[in-house]
Symmetry: T
Subunit: 72 residues, 12 copies
């Protein structure tokens, strides 16, 4: 509801997945939701990755800010 | 043609799609091309998203700068 | 409604008012809404001001990004 | 006391209020102090807002970094 | 007149010219003034250029923010 | 007068006030004008604050760049 | 092995692909590994693209910093 | 192990020490490790300090982002 | 002489000239050297300009940081 | 040709010239083209300069990113 | 005393020393305190250095912002 | 010699050392000088580090830009 007084908190998490950028984002959220309720939105801050011995990406590392509403 | 005098304009649009980052980019362009001719290139400025009640991404929101040439 | 495909546009406007920062923001919005429907949110980019001959602020100049949904 | 060894932590919170920027800051602090002791200072990171159907601001959203000293 | 309530809008344009940076700026303005009245000031955001086959600059591309007052 | 050759200088000052952001800006200017003539404009760089023992803001600290014209 | 003295170098490469962001990243790495051994990680700096005459993306251009260890 | 799905969290802490920059970093980590397991890496965000009455540094204040792996 | 202990100070000045960017830089330096000895180097921070009623640049405003060595 | 897979590399060079900003850019390119083929575009990152004993600019130093296509 | 109205000024100085980063900071402060009273805090903006003919650091150059309270 | 036409190149290297920040910088330079002549100056871009199992720093990782003059 817009217009009511409320407070959100933002935390930074890095999701890691071999499958791609969207999978790394979902990985991060799947972990965050275990300890935090009411996840609301995320912002991608950095997209990094590790390169395997064969010279291809072997994991995507996506740094997110994740926001959630603090309960009363 | 490089070397001729010309002018481009850049606008900011946010494409929203449930399917992923590339789909959100295409969504933004499909709308922009209805009012602007000669779209030339885009630059991703921000990748945000909304998180559904089940804690997964329910939409990607990609902020683009889109450039197009101004006609004479 | 989250999850549906849509597109927003962002424009930059500077509201100017002698009364303060919030008044300059409202000034900018009052003008923007005359030509654009469905204003959705704003982001303050810069807070500047002009200083009068008596050395006090004689106007606040607040640069906003204002977002609105493009209609189908 | 300057010169003694100590550690601070910084968290990010977003205070939301209809009344203005300072009110949104106080809203954020009023919530943060319920779980954290010894709040020390804050830094405004972003000033955003939502625009109502009448085209005026219906809430200010102020993103703060808030610092507090970790106890021994 | 400082102190009166008013609103400016900022747009982004890229002027392209073979002759140099100032010429690219003037090129951008010469186009912008055809559709917008009361151009007021500009800010250089980026200076880029294209390099010809002989390895010299064959065009300067200067990205400007251009501000103009919105009329009542 | 636009178009004449001139030089401005910019300095950084931090105004501190318990009353709010605009009051902190005016505080900074009231001090700056004692040593500098022809203050022209200001730009807000940072909005910080100190939090009192009761968890509310006990001072706003606003960092400004202030510009003034150098006299001949 | 953490703790041993070593030196990495970072270079900037832009991978271009029609298929999407991850494909453009892999394209850049496939080229970089031809001249450099021991590619270690990458950081996405920019995601740009070119828009075709039909108004859809006809190539993604992803600017990466790629790091690799300098051999003794 | 690269390639496995995992999630890191990043927090911000400020270590304070009279002895120097590296000592302030170690101070921050010594505190962080009391509540968090598996600290993995840090990034220096800011190096500030307080100046004593004799005009020399009487404490270094180093703002770190510290990352650690979230356990399953 | 590299290797000896010394201190520089940096100030911000804005040179204004109708003639172009380099002329505005020289304008700023010609003023700065009247009060400061041993100007050493400059860094361009911003290139702005004012647009005349005919829609062309009527002055360039170049913000410089200028560094000079403090004498013993 | 847009749409084909390819890779560009970006390097950083600083061109130095007494004559002005454009001359410093051309100086940098004239050197870069001796070792690299297919220079494609450049981006100005910084404009610095050294000030002579008479208080005027005695060299412009322009930091460029220069991009070129890697050959197959 | 927090809560009282006051004004700080910030200046930029570069301390140079062969001995290291902390020594360069102290060098800058030792000079600044000769002309300014009540130095309060500093912020490191840049850490640069010059490299000698033997390829090792022959001086550290640390750019600081230094803040001090303006007296009534 | 200031005022003569010349070109510098900048590269990015990361020096790693257990001993501290200055040692990591020297480590980077000791490696860079093996392949490049006339190293001229460096700029610290990032200070990161790895944390050992005991929760203390087990290596500093300092990202430098290193500049050197291109020979004729």
């Amino acid at each position: 509801m817009y217009g009511s007084e409320k407070v959100y908190k933002k935390i930074e998490v890095i999701g890691v997945s071999k499958k791609g950028i969207e999978a790394a984002i979902e990985m991060a959220l799947s972990k965050a939701k275990k300890t935090v309720h009411k996840l609301s939105w995320f912002e991608v801050e950095e997209i990094h990755g590790h390169i395997g011995e064969d010279g291809t990406v072997n994991e995507y590392q996506v740094l997110l800010k994740v926001a959630f509403q603090l309960e009363d």
